[in-house]
Each structure stands twice: as C-alpha cells, then as structure tokens.
C-alpha cells in the first residue's frame, strides 16, 4: 500500500478539502508512512472471515407519525447565510446555465 502525491490530490478533491502545496506534501508523507504501517494487515488470512458490522438486532422501526420538529432554536440562527427561509450560498453566475437538473441526484 502506498499513496502518491497525485492520489492525495485526487482524494482531497473528492473530499472537498482545499490544501496548499506545503500541506499536500506533508499529507503525502504522513499518509505514506501510515499506509506503510497498515501494510502488516496484509499478513492476515481473511479467507472466510465475514466483514464485521452487523449488529445482533435488526433495525427497529418507528410508527409513521408526523411529530413536532425537535428544534430548540430556529434554523435561521445557525445558518451562515439565510434569506427568506432559505439556506443561501454563492454560485458563479457562469454556472447558472446548468441549473436545470441540479435538484439533487436522488
């Protein structure tokens, strides 16, 4: 296992992390030595081992009842930018043209 500077750059882009050059260098070094340390895990024979994660009990389910919103403070108070009931964030005017679908991916 190893990680190159370009890998870190790519992953940082995927994770939406802005990194300056010095940070990128440092992270590449850090992550490289950490991954090297993780390398030991390759020795384990995982054949037949099921991935952990499943709890004993199945997911509990709740009744379909609309309950009161449990907020002790209005949403507006925590929003960095709030207008007329909406969370607002900047968007380059040049990008406005592509807005038709940007309605989420679901």
């Amino acid at each position: 296992m190893t990680i190159k500077r370009t890998d870190v750059e790519k992953v940082a882009a995927l994770a939406r992390l802005e990194l300056d050059q010095a940070e990128l260098d440092a992270l590449t070094g850090d992550c490289g030595s950490i991954l090297e340390f993780f390398e030991a895990i390759r020795d384990v024979d995982v054949e037949g081992a099921t991935p952990a994660g499943a709890l004993e009990h199945p997911a509990p389910v709740r009744d379909d009842q609309a309950e009161h919103d449990r907020l002790e403070r209005p949403v507006a108070e925590m929003a960095p930018d709030w207008r007329e009931g909406y969370f607002v964030l900047p968007r380059l005017p040049a990008l406005d043209a592509e807005s038709v679908d940007d309605d989420g991916e679901a």
Binding site: A13, L14, R16, G53, A54, L55, H57, P58, A59, P60, V61, R62, D63, D64, Q65, A66, E67, H68, D69, R70, L71, V75, R83, E84, G85, Y86, F87, V88, L89, P90, R91, L92, P93, L95, D96, A97, E98, S99, V100, D101, D102, D103, G104, E105, A106
Partner: protein, 484 residues
Amino acid sequence: MAEPAASPHETIIGLEIHVQLKTCSKMFCGCRVEFGAPPNTHVCPVCLGLPGALPVVNRQAIELAVRAALALNCQLHRSSIFARKNYFYPDLPKGYQISQYDRPLATDGRLDFPEAKGGGMGRVRIRRLHVEEDSGKSLHDRFAAKTAVDLNRAGVPLVEIVSEPDIRSPADARAFLGRLKRALEYLEVSDCNMEEGSLRVDANVSVRPVGSSEFMTKTEVKNMNSFSQLEKALAYEAARHLNLLRSGDQVEHETMLWDPVRGEARPMRGKEEVHDYRYFPEPDLPRLEIPDETVDRLGGCLPEMPWQKEQRLVDDYGLPRYDAELLSSSRVLADLFEAVARSAPDPKEASNWVMGEVLAAANDLGLPVERLDVDPEGLAEVIGLVAEGRLSHGLGRQVFRRMIETGKSAERVMEEEELRLAGGAELEAWVREAVDGNPAEVERYRGGEEKLLAFFIGQVMRKSQGKADPAQARQALIEYLGRS
C-alpha cells in the same frame, strides 16, 4: 424527428424510476411530508444533518416498498442493508444519502405491459428495487448568483426501481411507465405525480442494429416531467444516436438534460468529475428485516392488479371497457362497485351510480371517495327503487345524498323528508300549473310543436322538486293538454 424504428436499428431503453412513498412522515425522522410548505419548515436535527443526529426507519415506508416489490413480482429479500452513497451537494445535508447498494430490498422482478403497437404484451424485467431518502431542493433562480436550499424534501422516503434494458421504443417506455404508475397508485404506494416530483424517471438510451445482441454506448436522459415529455425525449435521443452512428461518429457516454421548452436534449455540463460514491454499509442502522407478519399481511398472495380487476369487471359483470377501466383506477371505487353490484338489480346500473352519483357527491363535498360514508346496500336499494319506478332518478339522487349526509337508511330518509314520488292530486296540480301558467307554449304545442312536451315535463319536475316521476308526468301532461 426521424423514426428510428423505420430503420434496421432498434432502440434499447432502460428506466430508473424514483417513486415517493405515500407516508405522513419522512424516511428516518418524524418530520411531516408536505408538498409546497414554506421552505425549511419541516426539518429537524436528523434531516438537517446536524452533528450527532441519527436515523430511525419509518415502518410504513418499508411496508409500502414491500408492497411495490410484491406488485413487481420481485424476489423480496427478508434481510437487506442500508448503505451510504457519498457525494457533496448543497441539498444533501449529511454529505451522503442513505440508500441501499449491494443488498437491496428486492431484485429480479418483472412487469408485463400492453405494447404501444400491435396489441401484444411486453415484459420488462426489474433488476432491483431499493429504499432510500430523497435530497432537498436547490433553487438556482431564487436569488441572483446564489443557490437557495430548501430541506423540506430532504429525507422523504423513496423507492428506486431499476429496469433491465428491455424496452424497445419510446412509446413502449411510456406504456410501461403508465402501467407501473397505475399499479403503484392502485396499491396506494405513491401518488405518482410527475409534476410534483413524486414520480421521477431517468432513462438509459442506446440504439443498435436489429439482430445484434451487443449493447452500444448509452446516454442517460434526465429531466422529463410528464409522460409525453418522456416519449419525446427518448425519441429525440434515439434519433440523435442513430444520426451519429450513420454519419460514422461515436456516441459519447454522457448525461443529457431534456429541455421541454426547446424540445431538445443537451449534455449536462460542469459534472466532468467522475462520480465515486464510495458506498459502504450505513453503520447507524442495523440490517433491515422484513418480519413474517408483514409479508403475510401484505402479500401472502399478490394483490389483484388494476388491469386484472378491469378484466374481471368486464368478464364477471359484463361492464363496458370504459366503465371497468374507470372503476379499477382506484381500489376504493372498484370495491364499492362490487359491493353495490352484489345487491343491485343490474351491474351496469350500479356502475352508472358509482361513476356518476358517488363521484359527484365526493366532488361536491370535497372529500376523497374513501371518506364518503357510502352504505353499499343502501345505494343498491336506491338503485332498486329507481328501477322499480318507485323513485325518479332525481329523487333517488336526493335520497342518496341525504343518506351520505345523515347516515340514515333509504327508508328513513324517504319517510322523514317525504322524498317519495308524488301521484294523484299532487301531480294533477303541478300539471295544471305548468300548463295554465304558460299559455304561449300551450298555443304552440297545440299548433303542432310536440317537442314542447319536454318543456312542460321540465316545468312539472321543477315545481315538484323532483318528486314527480317524469314518465307519469308525461302521461298526465299529454292527457291534460289533449283535454282542453
């Protein structure tokens, strides 16, 4: 637009359908589901993605998804797993969507549909059906150069249905979707309202030479908000592929946005980054188990589908196709019809009354049919009384209305409100008034304008407030007008 079917190429279409489940509250929190509410008013720590908040599964959403899976003849997986689909978007509060990935709720289904051409039946295989939460809404035109985010829709329950690429024409895509919509509405899984977004369809399109079994490069088409737009967009895209192939060009694998105003599909820009959703099992939710009880209750056997019911109404009751289709569009309506028809003298009469008076009453009272307090036997009795001539149709309608409003029996309504056919002296008096009060019309009638009889009948009916029997009135009028 060229018609690709006319060439030795065929169109290959697969659909990805998102259906909003008809629940009161969201998928993983108690926030109300309401279309058109003021922005960000149905939100809580969970659907806002606040630090520390956790999801809890809505039972009803799961039951509706199970119902949909059974209706699509899917293999239902009694144990399935929620997974996180990771991507950044302003209306995706947690930075991931809780969905299902390698162990979905259901797989390997199918749905048969009447093909658009030739009257045969087509079959579309369903690859998978899974449960997930919706994102919020990003509005890009609300404020200049800003994106506005409304999270009322964030966390609303959805099922995603993915078909195999089994559809061979845009018209068939429409026909298949129509059948699917009808089934889901009928099972009360969803409102399936494309305008409000409770039914959303993306399509994968490619074309290939007839006889080839290879799949060519496909494109994904999005943003079709009605059935006719779907058909148009697919026809457009198929023709575009064909033109590219014929001129020796390559089809690019890309996502196209349908523009219904211009009637064209354009490649989506600005999404050059390859998606890497980094799915992994959602650690905040244990596996989803469907208990025996749920399966027994919802689908020990598959529910009768609307088209099966429609056929049965034609076969068993001799109803015209139109009546059968309308009645079977809603389970409530069809059940009511069958209950009325059991004791009514004639199924067609029962159908007329259900389609006519019942729907009219629901409309006038502003209530859905299921909330109307209709006693099927009482309605059958009214139909019988009209058939026997003991009530006029109009009087029957009044009796029926009062039955709904008061919950009383036909007999009691008729007795207490004196809603009976009047005869004898009463009828005589109305006939006399109708004739004597309209000397000019009497003159014309006697001059040979016999069609004016209808006018006099109408006068009598009005004066009697429906209590006169039109046939008796007619007879009495002919006699009276002939007498003097």
